[in-house]
Amino acid sequence: MTTDPTRDGTPVPLLQVDDLAIEFATPDGVVRAVDGLSYSVSAGRTLAIVGESGSGKSVSSLAVMGLLQQPPARIVRGSIRFGGTELLSLGQKAHRAVCGENIAMVFQDALAALNPVHTVGWQLTEALRARHGMSRRDATARAVELLDLVKVPNAKQRVKEYPHQFSGGMRQRVMIAMALSMDPEVLIADEPTTALDVTVQAQIMRLLSEIQAERQMGLILITHDMGVVANVADDVTVMYAGRAVEQASVFDIYAAPAHPYTRALLGSIPRLDQKGGGLAVIPGRPPDPTQVPAGCAFHPRCAFAEDVCRADPPPPTVSLPFDRTSACHFAEEVMNHDEH
């Protein structure tokens, strides 16, 4: 965990996404899944991308990894830079090669991401053997090291086992170990704990932040869980209907959300320290990507909406104090609004 939330002396970002827009061709027409998304991650920092299903949070990270199926997907505009390299101008193969060495990804469903017919050790070292021509013995030793790193007990024995012999939490550790095998500088974790039990979820989140702090990796955590975000993130990007609706440091966003959606999301988290009375409700549901409402996409569900919200899309970034942005006509009002 980085304890330094200071905003001065901005470090050089490792990974920088600028004005990214992605479209999908569907039978019902072209769907804009991501629209004008920008963010950056620096070494040792954790960026949380928060959103519900269909918000575009996973699609954008697939684009970063060069894993989008094109077609139906199409990157309309924008740039993805790693170090100084523009990844989008590389072509998919070279793009993936850069990612393979530097950016790794952990998925939600570890069982689906592991091959059931190979031992865990074999899969852990596949990339090492293929790319670096490591010998089998060295590779096995490395696999044991990696499992130790992610605190899988009895690693020497377990590298010889198959994925189905691992519990859900242990499998997710294997996935993290696999992601670490190439010593990545940036790790993208897409809902890494969603399928897990709460106690195991806490273990995995702790492991991720420890490893990140130790190796000074940049970590992108994609999640829908504002509770988890509060515990690990430095910066937060909230996505809704393909757009980043709010971007701020974790402390600012929780203290005074500047977008009505963020505010509503925070209100709808079930909390241990508040009894009953029902949960705060966001009416309606996330928009169908083929029928995004005119004006501000959130206006049908928004408590702050006025005529201008129904007519005009909000400016993509309303700059606010402390380097934060919000895509809302009434960003300042929302930020200064006090419900309690």
Binding site: T199, Q203, G227, F251, Y254, G278, A280
Partner: protein, 351 residues
């Protein structure tokens, strides 16, 4: 608590599954004690939250309660009447008292049936349950009741969002006018912004129809919002139960404490002050549960207790003998309704 208050009582319920080996001659080599001696009572018009992680036996308990599985031992009393050993016809009747809402809105609706058929199926199975006015009218009323457009009865599940599908599932369960609704993690598969809508619908229905809920969840936070009483399961046994206030304010089992600690607090300014209890490892397999207290292999409290029980103890951080050998009974704490199964229950909240 008078007996008429209790709509569902479970006494010492157990469900064991045999473990067999061999292809031709299947030898009986052991048992999975999925549920092992659970007693619960659900009061009329109230909500009992049942919390446990995967493998705790909460889903098996649910299956036994709705009559899909037969209990190995123990009793289930609905309105004081033992329903655990009923014949076929009577079991069918029982089904009208206890209904279920499922976790996954995508697998819980038959994709080839229209909403009208799904909700109306109850009336096809129980023709005597059709209210006056006919089946079609009843289905439309149910859809309206759960906040869906009654004109959508001819649509198919794929035309609805996850939250709407969950409403269809609730309407199906309500068709036979049950007394008890067993909700198996009804919101955990939904988008965060939708969860509140479904929880609030359930509370609304409870107030209007006098339903009693057994609300199953894998974490304590959502239960806090809806439950009047809470029971926590670990490896087939209850480890703690009590009223909402008792369990959340004076958690008296180390596992309950750990579960509470695992719920992230949505406030970044507290992240460094909070003392988290992170349990080591996974839940042991129910085929071969640990001796003594089932939880001792992961317990954070037991090592702290060793020095007190045995001050001259040779190694530090070992588990007290009593935890390794003796299974703790559910015992009453400060109030007769607050029970915890821990040898050191009084010390849990002190640490």
């Amino acid at each position: 608590m008078t007996s008429t208050d209790v709509v569902l009582e479970v006494r010492d319920l157990a469900k064991f599954y045999p473990v067999r080996r061999g292809i031709v001659l299947k030898r009986h080599v052991g048992e999975v004690k999925a549920v092992d001696g659970v007693s619960l009572s659900l009061r009329r018009g109230k909500t009992l939250g049942l919390v446990g992680e995967s493998g705790s036996g909460k889903s098996t308990l649910a299956k036994v309660l709705v009559g899909i599985e037969k209990p190995t031992r123990g009793q289930i009393l609905v309105d004081g009447e033992d329903v655990s050993n009923l014949g076929r016809a009577e079991r069918r009747e029982l089904r009208r008292h206890i209904q279920m809402v499922f976790q996954d809105p995508y697998t819980s609706l038959n994709p080839r049936m229209s909403v009208g058929e799904i909700v109306g199926e109850a009336y096809a199975i129980h023709p005597d349950a059709v209210p006056a006015g006919g089946k079609a009218k009843a289905v439309r009323e149910l859809l309206d009741r759960v906040g869906l457009n009654p004109d959508h009865i001819h649509r198919y599940p794929h035309q609805f969002s996850g939250g709407q599908r969950q409403r269809i599932g609730i309407a199906r369960a309500l068709a036979v006018r049950p007394k008890i609704l067993l909700c198996d993690e009804p919101v955990s598969a939904l988008d965060v912004s939708i969860q509140g809508q479904v929880i609030n619908l359930l509370e609304e229905l409870q107030d209007d129809l006098g339903l009693s809920y057994l609300f199953i969840a894998h974490d304590l936070s959502i239960v806090r919002h809806i439950a009047d009483e809470v029971a926590v399961m670990y490896l087939g046994r209850l480890v703690e139960s009590g009223t909402d206030a008792e369990v959340y304010e004076v958690p008296s089992h180390p596992y309950t404490r750990a579960l509470m600690s695992a719920v992230p607090v949505p406030d970044p300014s507290l992240r460094d002050q909070r003392r988290e209890i992170v349990l080591e490892g996974d839940m042991p397999s129910p085929v071969d549960p640990p001796q003594g207290c089932h939880f001792h292999t992961r317990c954070w409290l037991a090592p702290l207790m060793e020095s007190r029980v045995d001050p001259a103890g040779s190694q530090s951080r070992s588990i007290p003998t009593i935890c390794r050998t003796e299974s703790p009974k559910l015992g009453a704490l400060e109030s007769p309704d607050h029970l915890a199964a821990c040898h050191f229950a009084d010390d849990v909240s002190a640490h």
